[in-house]
């Protein structure tokens, strides 16, 4: 069996195990789905009330504030999963001994990390789809024909934020805490990425900081595609910047993780709290 095929099988096996574990908690799954649908009801009324106030500032991305906010929430969900999942998985894996069992197999570390992150990201994708459908049923204008092309942007948003998760996992390996890294990334992404408002309305000095926030580019591209129906070629510049973030951050965080992994093997703390 080819290396890529075997790596895919391993990622698939870890995802399947996570899926079976997750679905064994039936009530939790149900609450998760119902909760996400219910969460947009207040958003609907608040955005409806503010529609006239914000319509000018958001019109390059959407004509409707409700749809604008829903796509912002959806993207922030992906960012949240991307920055928290690896630190969580590594931390719980160390506590339970699962990490030791996984590292003792013949699978390579990057494959294991991909496998650990895959199901939570897929699950976030499913929840996001439910959120989008619920919003559409409540009147959000969604260009469904652009759903599949916009998945590329979602993937790039994830790839640009997973490195923060990898850095968090490296900190867990080395210091047993990731500190406020995930919260910091989420706070900055929510504040400067244009989740609930357009980045054009924030003060100019904050707009400078916003230029260093990957989510700002991702969200702009995502909204223009799925809410305004623009083709992928129209958002090429934003996609290019997002790719650059993904490449640079992945390289930096991978190097950091390798150093932390080696440090933990040296210090003897790789598999014990």
């Amino acid at each position: 069996m080819g290396t890529v095929k075997l790596a895919s099988a391993r990622v698939g096996a870890l995802s399947r195990a996570a899926w079976l574990s997750a679905t064994s908690y039936r009530v939790r799954i149900l609450v998760s789905i119902v909760g996400i649908v219910l969460s947009i009801i207040p958003i609907f009324f608040v955005t409806d009330a503010l529609q006239d106030v914000v319509s000018d500032s958001i019109n390059t991305e959407s004509s409707q504030y409700f749809a604008f906010a829903v796509v912002g929430m959806l993207a922030l969900n992906f960012v949240g999963t991307a920055v928290t999942i690896l630190p969580q998985q590594i931390s719980s894996g160390i506590t339970t001994g699962t990490l030791e069992a996984l590292l003792s197999t013949r699978s390579r570390l990057p494959v294991l990390l991909a496998g650990l992150a895959a199901f939570p990201l897929i699950w976030t994708g499913l929840r996001s789809l439910v959120l989008l459908v619920a919003a559409w049923l409540m009147g959000a204008e969604v260009v469904w024909s652009q759903l599949f092309p916009s998945l590329l942007v979602v993937l790039l948003i994830v790839l640009a934020h997973l490195p923060f998760g990898l850095m968090g996992a490296a900190l867990i390996l080395a210091f047993r805490t990731a500190g406020p890294l995930a919260q910091g990334v989420l706070f900055l992404s929510a504040g400067l990425g244009g989740v609930y408002y357009s980045t054009t309305v924030i003060p100019s000095w904050l707009q400078t900081l916003s230029a260093f926030t990957p989510l700002a580019y991702g969200l702009r591209a995502l909204r223009r595609m799925i809410l305004r129906g623009e083709p992928i070629s129209a958002v090429g510049a934003d996609i290019g910047v997002l790719c650059l973030f993904a490449i640079v951050l992945t390289a930096a965080s991978s190097a950091g993780f390798v150093v932390a992994f080696r440090y933990a093997r040296r210090a003897g703390t790789l598999t014990q709290y």
Binding site: A13, L14, A17, T95, T98, S104
Partner: protein, 361 residues
């Protein structure tokens, strides 16, 4: 199959807040494993015996490539654990002792199926290997049950099955019976002995602090204490090196006789006299180096002192007593030298079958 030469691991001692503030740039190191050299043959069931904190788990984790040694060398099947960790994991699998490392919300088949794929098996081969592993550990009938509902013994067997999926040449078992009740532990040991060692003929390294477990299972033993290898050999060899100078007698001493009167005569030492039992006899224990002839001289001394002696024979130390004795012999003196039988014990590396191990054929 497994070679270690001067394997050493030090861990930094964790500082308290006062030390962090007053001595921020100093670091104190604690020795977890110190210069361990061992050679384990293919197909051997080898025991690492030592109390908690002896360094057994650290040694295992170095072999499993999860901890990097500070110095020395370790090889599995000729592959270096530091420079060729992937190749080592192809041959060696540790049985992770923590039951929580299983996926409790999955059943046994699902658990094994996951790890079969992670070990590089897919399709029908993976299914067959899962089935075979379940049969080997006698869990076929409960294969569809959620692992969280398993007993500790069943979970331990599933941990073994998980390790067997890859059909490793070397299996590391770190105190596999520690969470089992005595009956389950006994059954589990029988499984290790009959299935893993005798039938499958795998090279097994067993870390345990339970001497009887080591005695029952292992071809050879290494005694580890505070990270140092104190002795290596079959139980018979260890006994002959460290425990064959202890004698026990049943005596009625003359009035006023004390054990200090015997100390030093004809080489007798460590003399201990118990109180009278119900029949009026007292147990005397002493050490007499020099074999049976010297013991006969001590017996003559006792007779000359007017001692009635109903029994005088070499003590057959239990493995726990033997372990205690080996540790005692290796206690450093104030001048830094060792006591008694010293490090020569570690040179005993013969692999002859051990007559003490009655359970295995």
């Amino acid at each position: 199959m497994v070679e270690m030469r001067g394997l050493t691991k030090l861990f930094p001692v964790r500082k308290n807040w006062k030390q962090i503030l007053t001595q921020p740039f100093t670091s104190e190191m604690q020795t977890a494993v110190k210069g361990v050299s061992l050679s384990i043959a293919r197909g051997e069931f080898f025991g690492l015996l030592g109390p908690n904190g002896a360094g057994k788990t650290t040694l295992f984790k170095m072999l499993a490539t999860l901890i990097l040694p500070d110095s020395g060398m370790a090889e599995v099947g000729g592959r270096n654990v530091v420079s060729e960790p992937d190749a080592v994991r192809e041959m060696l699998t540790p049985v992770v002792p923590d039951e929580r490392s299983l996926y409790w919300r999955l059943n046994a088949v699902e658990n094994l199926r996951l790890f079969a794929v992670l070990q590089g098996l897919t399709g029908r081969v993976a299914d067959e290997r899962v089935q075979r592993s379940l049969e080997q550990v006698d869990l076929t009938e409960t294969a569809d049950k959620m692992v969280g509902q398993f007993s500790s013994g069943m979970k331990q067997r599933l941990l073994i099955a998980r390790a067997l999926l890859a059909e490793p040449e070397v299996l590391l078992l770190d105190e596999p019976t520690r969470s089992l009740d005595p009956l389950s532990a006994r059954a589990f040991r029988a499984f290790l002995r009959d299935e893993i060692a005798d039938r499958q003929g795998r090279t097994v390294l067993l870390a345990t602090h339970n001497p009887e477990e080591a005695l029952e299972l292992c071809d050879r033993l290494a005694v580890l204490h505070h990270g140092e290898l104190l002795a290596t050999g079959t139980v018979s060899e260890l006994r002959s090196l460290a425990g064959d100078d202890v004698y026990r007698a049943s005596v009625k001493p003359p009035v006023g006789w004390t054990e200090s009167q015997l100390w030093g005569r004809e080489g007798a030492h460590d003399v201990a006299l118990d109180p009278e039992d119900e029949s009026g006899w007292r147990k005397l224990e002493l050490r007499v180096p020099g074999g049976a002839e010297q013991a006969a001289r001590v017996l003559a001394v006792l007779a000359a002192d007017g001692m009635q002696v109903s029994r005088f024979e070499p003590a057959r130390l239990t493995l726990a007593e033997l372990l205690e004795r080996i540790v005692e012999l290796n206690q450093p003196r104030p001048d830094g030298t060792r006591n008694g039988a010293d490090l020569a014990l570690t040179e005993a590396v013969a692999t002859v079958p051990d007559p003490d191990r009655s359970a295995r054929g």
